[in-house]
Symmetry: C2
Subunit: 240 residues, 2 copies
């Protein structure tokens, strides 16, 4: 049995579990992907690993899948948060998608002094993270939080969490992750237009913070997010 | 004098040079960006570094800039090619943009056995590379070639050029760039759907080729391109 569709569900997964489908899921599986009774679907819920399931009932407005066997154990990403300042819609979507693919555990949109957008659609961004997890074969979906104010986050920054801070004003700096300690980390990608002076002093004063340069060219925020996560995953995460 | 616009031009740049503008450039500078006589523009042509220039004449259909002083020397990217199989339009554009930002010297779209698109718009992709260079502060614009057949490229592969080959079928492999030799390199990003068996044997038989894994999750081609260029730039390129 080989599944051509991977689907995220909320329902518990386990041997013999019957998984009811929402109307949207039924439309996707039976309308768009043309699956029918007996076809295989790979399911994951972020907690129970990946399970192969079979279509038991297929209807226009719903249906049921029957879990057969576990096809992958749960694989949690490293304890890495990605903090970024939302930019234009397409690029914000992109950053969330990339964070899920690259294995961030939590995605935190932050409002900085130079952030243009005051609001985000958290539900839409969370849906992007789910879709990216479905695509990349992950068994975990990172949580996308609501927009948070950077100054408040930094004022209450967890003592045990390191912060890798990437700032376009630092282009050409030479700090890397060599010798960095493992453990909980966060990556902070600066907004277009950079950080304000107040933010920059607060960041450099934070003992958990470490400036990491991303080469001699100025990267867009979405490029910087992927590049920073690559450096981190290779040095301290699950690419080692 | 501080320029709020960076512009790529074809014309030679140097002290006292007068640079004529095309109709499109004049529209952009004077119509869209609202510059006028005496305003500063940063110019680069990929050969002479970056020059600060002043608007000498501003017209609806053209104009002239006068070069004042060099503001950056020419900085060539390392001798790195990016080879990728074109995918959906938006993601292909994105890969070209990212390759320019990340400092590839040459961008080569390749037709593989599982590539869907038979044609690309080379002129449009080249324009994306120029725009990315304008944005990222680079003084060089990578050439985007026409679509080339992968099997023909590999059959005539330059003896002295290493090839970093990233394949989603290799997710979870452990090869990195540790100990890799400097010199001319190329990165090849696999198409969605992976390489064919014939392509994979040809690649693994190539003495210049080295498989590099990009973590335990399957990355989309555009994510893989940025991640692979990050690993390469850090190990062998100008991020060192």
């Amino acid at each position: 049995m080989k599944a051509k569709v991977r689907l995220y569900v909320e329902h518990p997964l386990g041997a013999g579990q019957s998984v009811p489908l929402t109307r949207e899921q039924a439309h996707y599986l039976f309308g768009v992907m043309r699956l029918g009774a007996g076809d295989a679907v790979a399911l994951f819920n972020g907690r129970d690993g990946e399970w192969l399931a079979e279509v038991a009932e297929a209807g226009k407005r719903g249906g049921t899948l029957a879990c057969a066997e576990q096809s992958k154990p749960l694989q949690m990403p490293p304890d890495l948060w990605l903090l970024f300042a939302p930019i234009k819609k397409a690029r914000t979507d992109f950053i969330v998608e990339k964070a899920a693919e690259m294995g961030a555990a939590k995605i935190i949109p932050v409002q900085t002094d130079f952030t243009n957008s005051e609001r985000i659609r958290q539900d839409r961004l969370q849906a992007h993270a789910i879709e990216a997890a479905e695509q990349c074969g992950g068994t975990y979906v990172p949580e996308v939080t609501d927009l948070q104010k950077l100054d408040r986050l930094l004022a209450n920054w967890p003592e045990d969490r390191h912060l890798m801070f990437c700032d376009e004003a630092e282009a050409g700096a030479t700090g890397g992750l060599t010798g960095a300690a493992p453990g909980p980390w966060a990556i902070l990608i600066g907004p277009e237009g950079g950080f304000s002076e107040a933010e920059r002093s607060r960041l450099t004063a934070l003992p958990q913070a470490r400036v990491v340069a991303l080469g001699p060219r100025i990267l867009r925020a979405d490029t910087a997010a992927v590049a920073a996560m690559t450096l981190w995953q290779q040095a301290l995460g699950d690419w080692r």
